[in-house]
């Protein structure tokens, strides 16, 4: 739809102008787009509107945290004989823009380091014997190519960048129009923070933010600033409804732009707890808002947004935590667990140093080696003179001085519990699986393992808990579990396999735990056909073996069947019969497997 495309392109251009005017006061921008001409055109547009001298640095998340912060400049240090700082990337971006590509792959401490610099307006360098605070003020543009649900910008960054733009609907023909029609020609004014905003407007904006379920106060601050910036860019000295509506869409677009997509599924799941008489007015409100949006092809007015916000707040109240849980499912990664794929301990993040090479060809840590060598220089020079050997000009290094970098590869595992949620005993089983997941998390903090839960029932399967290390998140996500219906074993196995492959791609070691009684009656295509269902399951099991995914099968049937054993054999999985699979038994089983692996 080119119409949709040009509307979102216009919004993207507006966002670029706002960013260029607001800069670090609004943190930055989250750009969801695939690499391509559209994204490049947008970045060029942003660059055009920045002062020509502004720094523009592009980095990827595999830059070591040390490079972000800065550290000892060895060449200079040796030359001057005095420690010299090599400024990090964050301070090199001072006054300019830091473009973080593949931002969705950022690891937790990488994101946290950038976030801390944004909050404090500077970098705290406590590295290699250097200690200082380097002020820096940059604008962050996060390029997010996340394709899957489980690849999302870490919350530490998305919380700190005010604007959010999605270019996925924009086509190449849309970007020919490089004129931002949402703005007048007025030049941006420097004193935008003083733009007037009425108390009612403040109240309305804040109510909308709260109603949309945004908890972070940074969002509230961002909405106000962006509203003022839009007003200022339009040459207006006070914020109007239009400005505020635009701001809301740019700051919390997920919530505003597509209420129909976002709210409906939640509503459907929430039929029971919601009082019946609440539904009709609710629905009509929303469809009204929807139609106005669609008909005009323009941005919805503030009023529409507020109506939608109120409606979603009504849903929110009646649902309690489950909507939030659902929202968390969409944003599953609290800490970035993606990052570098590491199979051996030869790679990973630096953890301390050692005087013997941890493996042949280990990387030398030069600052540490220098430190080790430095105190002996005078003695060695003297020794050389006394021995009549030529003295070296600067540094006399011996083998005993060498210090090596010890690296910690990610040897973390992810236990994927795949649970039969069908039929009458579903709730009980799910309850045990949930308990097992939580127990595992509680026991696994030292090993830093993650746990995920996949459930299958009816005609398909769901990732009920995306891989996580957080007990808090697990509790939230597993709070609203549902069971019942047919038994699509093969679908569940496919989902678990998919998750296992993704996990492995993120550098973690998956362990799939199938909790099943071996019965299955729904084939992969969703039809009720017992024999096809079984052959599908066998086929998927073969896929597990082919890909070498570690798995265990927990037979939870009261009378064990041969099918379960044969599936386990096809998967190359260990088989355990635990007719009364309780949470403790399952978790200790998994833990013993994790230890062994």
């Amino acid at each position: 739809m080119t119409d949709e495309g040009s509307v979102s392109w216009q919004k993207a251009l507006l966002a670029a102008r706002i960013l260029a005017a607001g800069r670090s006061a609004i943190g930055g921008l989250h750009l969801r787009a695939r690499a391509g001409p559209v994204r490049d055109a947008w970045l060029d547009y942003l660059k055009e509107h920045l002062p020509p001298a502004a720094a523009w640095r592009r980095i990827t998340p595999n830059v070591p945290v040390g490079r972000l912060i800065g550290g000892l400049d060895l060449a200079k240090t040796l030359e001057m004989g005095k420690p010299r700082l090599e400024p990090g990337l964050l301070s090199a971006c001072d006054g300019g823009v830091l473009v973080l590509s593949m931002a969705e792959r950022s690891a937790g401490n990488f994101a946290a380091t950038i976030g801390a610099a944004m909050d404090e307006g500077g970098v705290r360098v406590e590295r290699n014997g250097l200690s200082l605070f380097q002020p820096t003020c940059f604008t962050l543009v996060c390029l997010d190519e996340g394709a899957d649900e489980d690849e999302q910008l870490p919350a530490a960054l998305s919380d700190r960048v005010a604007l959010s733009v999605d270019l996925s609907a924009v086509s190449c023909s849309d970007i020919e129009d490089m004129h931002c029609s949402l703005l007048g020609e007025a030049a941006p004014i420097a004193d935008w923070p003083t733009t007037k905003m009425s108390a009612e407007m403040e109240n309305a904006l804040e109510s909308a933010v709260v109603a949309f379920g945004e908890r972070s106060l940074r969002t509230s601050i961002a909405v106000r600033r962006v509203s003022r910036l839009i007003a200022a860019l339009n040459g207006s000295d006070s914020v109007t409804d239009e400005h505020a509506a635009l701001a809301l869409q740019l700051v919390c677009p997920m919530m505003v732009v597509a209420p129909s997509e976002e709210e409906k599924p939640v509503e459907a799941g929430a039929d029971q707890p919601q009082p019946q008489d609440d539904l009709p007015p609710d629905d009509s409100d929303r469809s009204e808002a929807d139609t106005t949006e669609r008909e005009s092809g323009e941005v919805p007015s503030l009023n529409d947004i507020l109506v939608a916000a109120k409606a979603s707040a009504a849903v929110d109240l009646s649902l309690g935590d489950s909507r939030r849980a659902a929202m968390n499912m969409r944003n599953p990664r609290g800490s970035g667990k993606s990052g570098i794929q590491i199979k051996s301990g030869h790679r990973g993040r630096p953890v301390g140093i050692s005087s013997t090479p941890p493996w042949p060809g280990a990387r030398l840590n030069v600052p540490a080696t220098l430190r080790a060598a430095a105190p002996w220089q005078k003695a060695r020079q003297r020794q050389r003179r006394e021995a009549g050997r030529p003295t070296r000009a600067r540094l006399d290094l011996r083998q005993s001085d060498f210090r090596y970098q010890r690296l910690l590869g990610r040897t973390e595992t992810t236990a994927i519990l795949c649970v039969d949620a069908s039929g009458s005993t579903a709730l009980e089983r799910l309850g045990e699986a949930k308990g097992a997941a939580e127990l595992l998390l509680a026991e696994c903090y030292v090993r830093r393992d993650s746990v995920a839960v996949v459930g299958f029932r009816g005609t398909g399967s769901d990732v009920m808990l995306p891989p996580t290390r957080s007990l808090v998140r697990a509790k939230k996500c597993l709070a609203s579990l549902v069971g019942g219906g047919g038994t699509p074993l093969a679908a569940g196995m496919v989902q678990a396999l998919h998750l296992a492959v993704t996990t492995a791609r993120h550098g973690q070691k998956p362990l799939v735990v199938m909790m099943t009684d071996g019965s299955t009656n729904i084939a992969l295509d969703g039809t009720a056909n017992r024999s096809r269902a079984l052959s599908d399951a066998q086929q998927v099991a073969g896929e597990f073996r082919a890909r070498g995914i570690a798995a265990i099968v927990v037979d939870i049937a009261f009378r064990t069947r041969d099918t379960t054993k044969s599936i386990a054999a096809s998967m190359d999985a260990d088989y355990y019969a635990l007719p009364r699979a309780d949470a403790h038994a399952v978790s200790s089983l998994v833990v013993s497997h994790l230890r062994a692996s």
């Binding site: 945290v65 972000l68 401490n109 290699n128 250097l130 908890r215 800490s335 301390g352 540490a368 903090y445």
Partner: protein
């Protein structure tokens, strides 16, 4: 662009100014050298009293300022709730400590650390004058390297003169003050290991690069983080005296007040700080007074009994929970200007002092805070207290 060639501060001590400031009262007179000015972040901290709501966090921080032996505060909660703002704001409220000018170890003048060259006059200079300065709040950033945390060989001296000198790290700088770790659940394990031992023993022992050094490092550990990033190791959890949870305010009015103050602050930080100076000053003198009176606060039998019954009922291991609870209660009473502790104090502080010490039962839906509250209610209603 900015000249990055100035370098480097004399180890820790200049950092302290960067941390202990800004003093709105302007009586920190020992910030003078030009290098210092460059290193000091030129930002004014948000005034502590201007923080809206979040009473449990504020109370826990103030109590830890009154009673440093509590073992610090852990603040966990939603993003953007002002956790780190509050900790940095606390710096301006801390009482002053006596030490010598340019001492890198914050030695008390009457008993300097054996290693301190400055205070023992071992560096050839006369022993410098005694100064009173605000207790330091030292940031331990996630990207810190081991050598800067525990201290290491002074590279400059080693390169220039071949002298083997120890350059103290952040742990020395934080002595008698606060050590703050933001996003503490993301801190690398090897740094956590370093912290654990020092936080328990109060002594930093360095055995590296041919150095063998020990110096006192007693600090109040303050950590903050978002629980969704992951769990904290139980050993580290145990080092904290109080642990509080913060959540974003839900009421529109409260949120608007937060946002308004933030905007006003950023528009003109100095003016904003000036407007809150009186309130901050009152709070500071309350803390100072409480520090003086805390040793004379009586702990009546019933408070003690309630605390220990509660701990027994909850199955809290060891005495640390009970001790922390009673100490915190005394600090609270001192802050209130009372002469003895009350049942009230225990009630108010039980969750913060005990919830994080419980053995975690992941199958318990309600969580450990609810368990503490429940046990408290039962104890108060039952035969625990007469």
């Amino acid at each position: 662009m900015r000249d990055t060639d100035f370098l480097k501060p004399n180890g820790g001590h200049k950092r302290r100014h960067a941390q202990g400031q800004p003093s709105p009262s302007g009586n920190d007179d020992d910030r003078s050298s030009a290098v210092d000015e460059l290193l000091v972040p030129m930002t004014t901290a948000f005034p502590f009293s201007a923080i809206v709501g979040q009473d449990s966090m504020k109370e826990a921080l103030i109590i830890s300022a009154v009673e440093p032996s509590l073992g610090g505060v852990l603040v966990m909660g939603d993003r953007g709730t002002g956790k780190s703002t509050a900790v940095r704001a606390l710096a301006a409220l801390l009482p002053k400590i006596q030490t010598r000018r340019s001492c890198q170890y914050n030695c008390p003048p009457d008993q300097p650390a054996a290693i301190c060259q400055t205070c023992n006059g071992l560096d050839g200079n006369p022993v410098p004058a005694i100064v009173a300065q605000r207790a330091p709040v030292v940031d331990l950033p996630l990207g810190a390297t081991e050598d800067r945390v525990v201290g290491a060989l002074d590279l400059e001296k080693a390169l220039l003169s071949g002298e083997k000198a120890f350059e103290p790290g952040l742990l020395a700088t934080a002595h008698r003050g606060f050590l703050y770790v933001d996003e503490i659940n993301l801190l690398e394990d090897h740094l956590v290991d370093l912290l654990l031992d020092v936080a328990a023993s109060g002594v930093n022992i360095v055995e590296r690069e041919g150095l063998s050094v020990r110096h006192p490092a007693r600090f109040t550990l303050v950590g903050s983080g978002n629980p969704e990033e992951g769990e904290l190791r139980p050993q580290l959890l145990d080092r904290f005296g109080l642990s509080v949870d913060v959540a974003s305010p839900n009421s529109v009015d409260e949120r608007m007040e937060v946002v308004r103050r933030r905007d006003a602050f950023e528009m003109d930080p100095d003016d904003f700080a000036r407007r809150w100076r009186a309130q901050d000053g009152r709070l500071r003198s309350r803390i100072n007074k409480a520090r003086q009176t805390i040793s004379s606060i009586e702990v009546p039998e019933e408070t003690l009994r309630l605390a220990s019954t509660l701990c027994v009922r909850l199955g809290v291991d060891g005495l640390r929970g009970e001790l922390t609870l009673v100490r915190a209660a005394r600090a609270r009473a001192a802050l209130d200007g009372r002469t003895h502790t009350d049942i009230d104090d225990i009630e108010a502080l039980a969750v913060a002092a005990l919830a994080h010490r419980l053995r975690r039962d992941p199958l318990d839906e309600a969580g450990s805070q609810a368990r503490v509250t429940r046990a408290l209610k039962e104890t108060l209603a039952g035969d625990g207290v007469d």
